[in-house]
Amino acid sequence: MQEMVKTRIKWILAFMIAGFPFLIFRFFEIQYILHEKYSDDAVRNLDRYKDVAPRRGAIYDRNGKLLVKTSAGYALTGNIEGLFLQIKEGDETREILNEESINSLVNLLMEHRENKKDKESEEDKENEKIAMIEEISEKALNIYRRVQESIETTLLPHKELAIKSPSKYALKKKDAKKDYYRRKYPIWDNISAQAAQAFFCNKSYFCPYQEDKNKEEKYKNQEEKDKKNFKDIYPGFHLEFTIKRNYLYPDLACHLIGRLGLVENFPEEIRDSLIKNKGYSVRDMIGLSGIERIFEDALRGKRGCKVQSREDKENSLYLEKSIDGENIYLSIDKDLQEFAEKSLDQTVEKYKSKEEKDKGAVGGAAVVLNIYTGEILVMASSPRYEIEKYSENYKDLKDDPYFPLVNRAISFYYPIPPGSVFKVPVAAYVLQNGIIDENRCFVCNKYMYERGRFACTHIHGKIDLVHAISGSCNIFFYHLGEMMGPERLEECAYLFGFGTKSGLGFGSEESPGFIPTPARSASQGEHWGDGKSRMFGIGQLINATPLQVARSMAMIANIGIMPKLCLVKKQNQGSGDDQILVAQKGIAKEAYVANEDWKWPISQKNWLLIKQGMARTTEGPEGTAKELRKKLKGVRIACKTGTSQVKGKADHSWFAGFFPLEEPLYAFAVLIEHGGYGATAAGPVAIDLINKIMQK
């Protein structure tokens, strides 16, 4: 046997030595013959392609005051996995906050604060530190709660499993937990650059920020950190480079400016099409509502691309420069908007019913626009929310009984009849069409028929059109409604822009509003009688938004020419030349074009009559708003009050018109929902706003 073994060993030796050159030759082939190809590949391998994100355009008001800007910064995020320690107690695991991690983080943040005071007592420092720890702890607990809720929601479809096979359910739960515990949630914004550097250096081995002269020191520190296993200094915390949208006035024109969201939060289909067709990346911000959405294409700019070598991180080659987004100059006047919002808030607060929540005022809106250019100077809605904290407070905002998420100036979330302010278009229509003339009188005895629902607020006696406008005589307009009939009433409403979208392109403006017609009544099983025409005549059956009312006022002020509404004065690119652009980009074009021929000339004589009626609202002894006259500071206005009735609740308070009387320039409309009488709730808000505008 020994001989056999020896022979076979020789065989193996022979095979091995014979095979060796094959292996060697393969290396020779790759390292010598193909060397150039592979070293080229190796050099190319060092290139890293990086997207260069553009800066999103800023938003200014009409006078160039900055409202919203984009800034780059660092933000801390955290995940539950590291922020909470899992402690096993028998079969159950308890999860408690990792205080050590928070402590060390706060120490670091304290060390690198931005606004460090020169002299600071130890006590102050200690207090600040404690406050910071508390804040972060609270945020961590909030995240914990949110994560638990999310896990519950993910598990909902699998609830059956819990009974059928608990082990499978437990597995599903474990998976969901694992997934959500690793997700990062925002914790702390506005980390100073210094703190970010320190955080980064502590957490990772290579520290690109520190300079070479500190090298020795760095290595010394490094060794100490190595001992501590640096990964675990701040478990659960992560640093992210973020591009943040800064809102200089947290809730100013929040509905108008709108929100931003991440592309990754969209449903998969939309997300994929955004990425594929429009070149977004998953982490990009995209406008979700308001100006941010309407002007998304202009604001976002264009993504660039650069190549950077791993060997030389300083220099990079730009394949394509990024183009920053265009800045948007709104037609909104920041001071006026702020003023309007504040006075709306105060008024709504004042007319809120203390006892019964749903009976008093719930909200309000104000719109002011230029009757010639259609530029909207004020578009205020109350109550509002802080854009930045939208997602944080989403649940509360959604369930708020006062609907702060609704832009009341523009949306029909709740049908509101314009009431008596609709009498102005009706008056213009009947005069211009010759249905009656200025001398035609009706008699008002408070009731149209002794008693019943066709009633007036006062006994006006024998009254003509001008006084019927200023005194807001219902009886007079009941007669007009009856005389006009449904077809002409409908035509009148459409002529003055009711039942038509603003054309500004807001997503929240889904419906153009409701205009009653006999056909619609029939479809609801109701008969159209003279009663309906009468109610229509005083603006009861129809719905309108403050913007529509303001627009109809502008049309009357402009002697029958409907202005083209717009929200943007101009757009410009970064710091480049101003590019005057009045509502041409972004704004829904069809509506804009439709406005082009929106003319329905009113004769000078008729116009003066209507103006006279509206002026007498404050100036005449029968005027519904005569108490407000003394509040006006040196300006005469044409206006109309409106008190539209709602079953079982307080009336809606309207106040709309235009000013200055002599040479009209602005039209306005103010609404206080369930605010009561037109001249008492909405009136003062409008008058204050007018005074403010005229002072400017």
Binding site: I24, Y32, N45, L46
Partner: protein
């Protein structure tokens, strides 16, 4: 005693004089070169780098080597069934109590350290086959007597495959094959075995492999026509390894200067692809020298085996040599696309304490055989 060798005598002088010493020195040399490049491939350059850890394992390994050398291998061969049984039991224990590392449940936790039980099995199977194959009473070199050793090898292979650690399992085939071959199987029987193995390989490919493993084999077959997408996904390791080695050229980029290595483009660079790091930083010259060292190591093992008088001892050396040779060939060949990518480490050089420890224990077995005279 069955073998007819009643007593053996060990002398250190005998062990290290001649081939035994050469084998030991070559192993140490290869390990030191390995340490050098493990340091170069360490992502961390501080105190806690991979080299320091590997170096401490190296010291442990030397101690283990010295202990192994003192064992009488014939006594171990005598009790090889018991050793085999212990190893099988430890594999079964791993199946139930084991720890996951890198997706496979192949580690047993013993106090502070982790033990890869398939390594014990490799040693055990060499001893057992040495006993079974050197039994001259049943010798005629026919195919039938192969059944028993094949069965003995198949059981642990099956246990390791389900861990799942295909690489460690497959390595039993060349070991058993070499030992059976050397023990005097006839060439006709060898041809039959070869045919069976080819068929078995086909069956394993279609039914026994995971999708990713199949992809690796396919990638290996079509490596020159990889699409760009494949170069980024399933073919990434192979592509990066070839670039690293090709980038080295004749003389290499210099120690610690290989871009593929330094910028972390080469995956698994301190473990499975340490040879590619050497290729990039030392070039063809370095590759040639290292492969030459391996060749000399294996040749000297063969020579030792040739000159040993006891058949079991000869078979042990052949088994150990086949173990290292096959791992070396598979590992080095895979870096240049001559073999499909498996998770097999390069003996002595790849980072991994347990593996280094058992490498030196096996070398200890070889030197032990070399240093023992039969009286």
């Amino acid at each position: 005693m069955k073998f007819g060798y009643s007593k053996t005598q060990f002398s250190w002088k005998e062990a290290f004089h001649g081939m035994g010493g050469l084998i030991f020195i070559l192993s140490i040399l290869l390990t030191l070169i390995g340490l050098l490049f493990i340091y170069s491939a360490s992502p961390k350059r501080g105190a806690d780098n991979y080299m320091n850890r590997q170096a401490s394992w190296f010291l442990v390994s030397i101690v283990a080597f010295l202990i192994t050398v003192r064992f009488d291998y014939l006594i171990l061969v005598k009790h090889s069934y018991a050793i085999y049984l212990v190893a099988i039991l430890s594999l079964i224990a791993t199946h139930f109590l084991g720890v996951y590392r890198g997706g496979a449940k192949s580690w047993l936790k013993l106090g502070p350290m982790l033990l890869q039980t398939s390594e014990i099995m490799k040693i055990a199977i060499i001893f057992l086959l040495a006993k079974v194959l050197s039994d001259e009473t049943k010798k005629n070199g026919g195919i039938k007597e192969l059944l028993y050793p094949v069965l003995l090898t198949g059981i642990p292979m099956g246990l390791i495959v389900i861990q799942p650690d295909l690489g460690s399992s497959i390595i039993f085939v060349p070991v058993a094959f070499a030992m059976i071959f050397v023990s005097g199987i006839r060439f006709k029987a060898l041809a039959i075995v070869f045919l069976i193995m080819v068929n078995l390989a086909v069956v394993v490919y279609f039914y026994g492999l995971h999708e990713y493993q199949k992809k690796r084999v396919l990638m290996f077959m079509n490596q020159d026509s990889m699409t760009r997408e494949e170069k980024r996904s399933s073919g990434y390791q192979l592509e990066q390894s070839k670039i690293a080695i090709g980038n080295g050229g004749l003389t290499g980029r210099g120690w610690g200067k290989g871009t593929q290595n330094v910028y972390g483009l080469l995956p698994e660079r301190h473990t499975d692809f340490i040879f590619a790091v050497i290729g990039e930083e030392m070039g063809f010259v370095g590759i040639f020298l290292v492969l030459l060292l391996y060749l000399i190591l294996f040749c000297s093992m063969l020579v030792t085996s040739y000159t040993t008088l006891a058949v079991p001892g000869q078979l042990i050396i052949i088994g150990v040599m086949a173990l290292h040779l096959s791992q070396t060939i598979v590992n080095t060949a895979m870096t240049v696309g001559m073999a499909p990518i498996t998770g097999l480490p390069l003996p002595f050089m790849s980072y991994g304490g347990s593996s280094l420890l058992f490498n030196f224990i096996s070398i200890g077995m070889v030197v032990s055989v070399a240093g023992r005279k039969i009286l």
